[in-house]
């Protein structure tokens, strides 16, 4: 029986080595971005919305904010990429709560990726700050 235990020990050591080697192969060093841009999508969204966060702190913004994107709210729920973008924006803008389904509050955030999406800005809202890259801070009422 000692032989069985020895073979088992050798196999376990060998299999652990093979499995770890495969883990190394499947986990390469992290991407190296030549222009210093974050390679991780969460970090990229953080950087994209950093100025908006500062703008929200500058303005007396409280409560839930509307969230506007290239897709209307009913299509956003069925679009995995759009939903992930919404979740990432929420992660970047904590503690403000973003509501993609309605924009009846005084403030809203626009996250526009495609040209021409500005037409989605609802009537009655105006751009308080255009922070670039399709990121806008909107407020209800006359400019």
């Amino acid at each position: 029986m000692k032989k069985g235990c020895t073979i088992s020990a050798l196999l376990i050591a060998l299999f652990a080595g093979l499995n770890l080697a495969d883990g190394v192969r499947r986990t390469p060093p992290p991407p190296r971005e030549p222009m210093g841009r974050p390679t991780n999508h969460v970090m990229r969204q953080e950087a994209r919305f950093a100025t908006l966060r500062q703008a929200l702190q500058r303005h007396p913004v409280r409560g839930t904010l509307g969230y506007l994107t290239d897709l209307p709210p009913d299509q956003l729920a069925a679009d995995p990429k759009g939903k992930e973008d919404y979740f990432l924006t929420q992660f970047a803008l904590v503690p403000w709560v973003l509501d993609a389904r309605k924009a009846d509050g005084p403030w809203a955030v626009a996250n526009l990726r495609t040209a021409g999406s500005e037409a989605r800005i609802p009537a009655g809202f105006h751009v308080v700050e255009d922070l670039g890259n399709g990121v806008l801070l909107l407020r209800k009422g006359p400019p």
Partner: protein, 620 residues
């Protein structure tokens, strides 16, 4: 400061464990240290959570509470009578050469696993989907919103982030951020890795204590040889912390049951069991199951006082869970759906079949193994009679695993979610949670050969062989790890300290791999970078690759407005060679443009429109 905050939680945990440890701590240090880390992170997170409900800067109040608790534990420990030594360790002889060999393999596995975990962290600093969308999101609310965080997090638009999930991980991360004064993702990664490290150390320590070094090292190797565990260890989910808590609770129940004078260990076992409920909702199931098993066993064997101490520890540990679940958290999404239709699902045979089929499938793949370890694990049991039977409270382990699996089965049966999606998105993680417990059970029962005394004439040649083998293995590991291409690199060339690398820019679908082959398809115009680092920079160099396309097209490659190559690319491979001369700013941008749109790769809605591809990229 992030490390300081983690260290202080560890010290607090060690003092609490040492205070409740009813035998000499020094000889049990390999057990006390990992247990201290798990308990410390759990207790400090609970104190931070309670302080965060009242104070905008909870670090100060939480820290004061931690200090008070640590001082009390230390003071009370000094009042204790001299401790009894722990039960003697029957296997405590000198290590054999085979054990030395196994130990060196284990150490190398630890180093490689640490490199893999570090890389996984660097690739996703805020963790995978659940890491940022749930656990780190909750941590941010706890830190940034002040005492209003429970109301904000319970807002209906945030239902998707599961605001009812327990708070151990978010509070631990928020505590580290708060102490450090900066929201570095390293804090979240550190908490995640700390639990994984404590888990490995605890598994090895308890098996070494109960069975000896060989089963302990084999158990540790099986865990480190589970790629999903290693890559997930820094992924900032709560599954590894939960697995660590469950293992710690089982270990404490085993130790507490060793003799009759273990009041403190029973209290600690109850406390740690409750911490699993503070980590994840599955921990609530674990708490109920373990409490039932402990109470049933102790009452049956006349140890109802022990069960009482266990329940006191449990009640104490469940305080923050109760405050959170009963007063602050919204209803869980699985519980919110009407019960009637869900009860009807119990009789749906298709659901039973789907759950069992998924369980069978995921038992073989949850570890993401290249080689399944099950056969090697089963080999020693071919002679069933010589297995080591589980004794005393060790018998709790198989019952615990079986009842947890039964509980998961019931939850899936009653789930209001789409069952296929629910199983595909969670079952592998549930199995990973139970894997350390299964390894503990295996390590405690596996027959091991008789130990051979160390020393003797054989050591004369075995020692140099062992040393040389280790040096060679370490050299191979260093070369393999340092020579590996980064995730977005196509090719690299080293010359002295200089390194040239080709990386993808914009306009690509990402690098695809099959074996050693790498290629990338573009969606249209795209950019490629040649990066240079180090002294000398390795110039001049030749960049060689093949261009392929699904339809004939013209492709032009420019650098800084100068055309480097232009030509017709038919269907098939077109070899290209570019001269890379020295550039000044660290990276050379190659712009690829094409005159024709992409061709859809297939008929489905998800089919990509592919323009051209790079294959066989080399730097010479």
């Amino acid at each position: 400061m992030v490390f300081g905050a983690l260290f202080s939680a560890w010290v607090l945990g060690c003092l609490i464990v040492a205070h409740l440890w009813t035998r000499a701590v020094r000889s049990d240090l390999p057990l006390v240290l990992p247990l201290g880390l798990i308990v410390g992170l759990g207790v400090s997170s609970a104190l931070f959570f309670l302080a965060s409900l009242v104070f905008a800067r909870p670090a100060l109040v939480g820290g004061a509470l931690e200090f008070t608790l640590a001082a009390t534990a230390m003071w009370r420990r000094t009042l204790r009578r001299p401790e009894a030594p722990p039960p003697p360790i029957p296997w405590n002889h000198r290590m054999t050469w085979a054990q030395w060999a196994l130990a060196t393999v284990f150490v190398q596995a630890v180093v490689v696993a640490a490199v893999v975990a570090w890389r996984a962290y660097l690739t996703e600093p805020y963790g995978g989907w659940d890491g940022w969308a749930i656990w780190n999101m909750h941590a941010r609310f706890m830190l940034r919103a002040g005492p209003a965080w429970p109301d904000l997090l319970a807002a209906p638009p945030l239902n998707w982030t599961h605001p009812d999930y327990p708070r151990l991980v978010p509070a631990s991360v928020a505590r580290l951020w708060s102490w450090a004064g900066i929201e570095t993702p390293a804090a979240a990664g550190l908490v995640s890795i700390a639990f994984a490290a404590a888990l490995v150390a605890l598994l090895v320590a308890i098996v070494a204590r109960q069975r000896g070094r060989t089963p302990a090292l084999l158990g540790g190797l099986l865990l480190l040889g589970t790629p999903f565990f290693v890559t997930f260890s820094s992924n900032e989910h709560a599954d590894i912390p939960l697995a660590a808590g469950m293992l710690a609770a089982a270990v404490l129940v085993i130790l507490a049951g060793e003799n009759t004078a273990n009041r403190g260990l029973w209290l600690l076992a109850g406390l740690v069991t409750a911490l699993t409920s503070w980590t994840k909702n599955e921990g609530l199931l674990f708490t109920v199951v373990l409490a039932a098993l402990v109470c049933g066993r102790e009452w049956r064997t006349g140890g109802s006082r022990h069960a009482g101490f266990f329940l006191v520890g449990l009640a104490f540990g469940l305080l923050p869970v109760g405050v959170f679940k009963l007063l602050l958290a919204p209803v869980n999404d699985l519980m919110a759906a009407p019960l009637g239709p869900r009860l009807a699902q119990l009789a749906d045979s298709a659901r039973h079949k789907l759950i069992l089929a998924s369980l069978w499938r995921d038992l073989g793949r949850f570890g993401e193994w290249r080689v399944l370890p099950y056969l090697a694990m089963a080999l020693p049991y071919f002679s069933w009679q010589i297995r080591r039977p589980l004794v005393g409270p060790e018998r709790t382990i198989p019952a615990l695993i079986a009842l947890m699996l039964a509980g998961f089965y019931g939850v899936y049966l009653l789930s209001p979610q789409d069952l296929t999606w629910h199983l595909d998105s969670s079952l592998v993680r549930l199995l990973l949670q139970l894997w350390p417990l299964a390894l503990l059970g295996w390590s405690l029962t596996v027959p091991s050969g008789d130990p051979v005394e160390a020393g003797g004439p054989h050591w004369r040649w075995k020692l140099p062989v062992l040393v040389v083998a280790n040096i060679l293995t370490a050299a191979v590991l260093v070369v393999a790890l340092t020579g590996q291409l980064a995730a977005n690199e196509f090719a690299a060339k080293r010359s002295g300290t200089a390194r040239l690398a080709v990386t993808l820019g914009e306009g690509w679908f990402g690098i695809e791999r099959l074996g050693d082959a790498r290629w990338a398809w573009s969606s249209g115009d795209a950019t490629l970078f040649v990066q240079a680092t180090g002294e000398g920079r390795g110039f001049p160099a030749k960049l060689q690759f093949e261009l392929r396309s699904l339809a004939p097209r013209q492709i032009t490659i420019r650098a800084g407005g100068t055309v480097l190559w232009s030509g017709a690319v038919p269907v098939g491979a077109t070899p290209v060679e570019l001269s890379i001369r020295k550039f000044s700013d660290g990276a050379m941008r190659l712009e690829f443009s094409t005159d024709a749109p992409g061709v859809r790769e297939g008929p489905g809605d998800d089919a990509r429109a592919l323009a051209f591809a790079l294959y066989e990229v080399r730097l010479r």
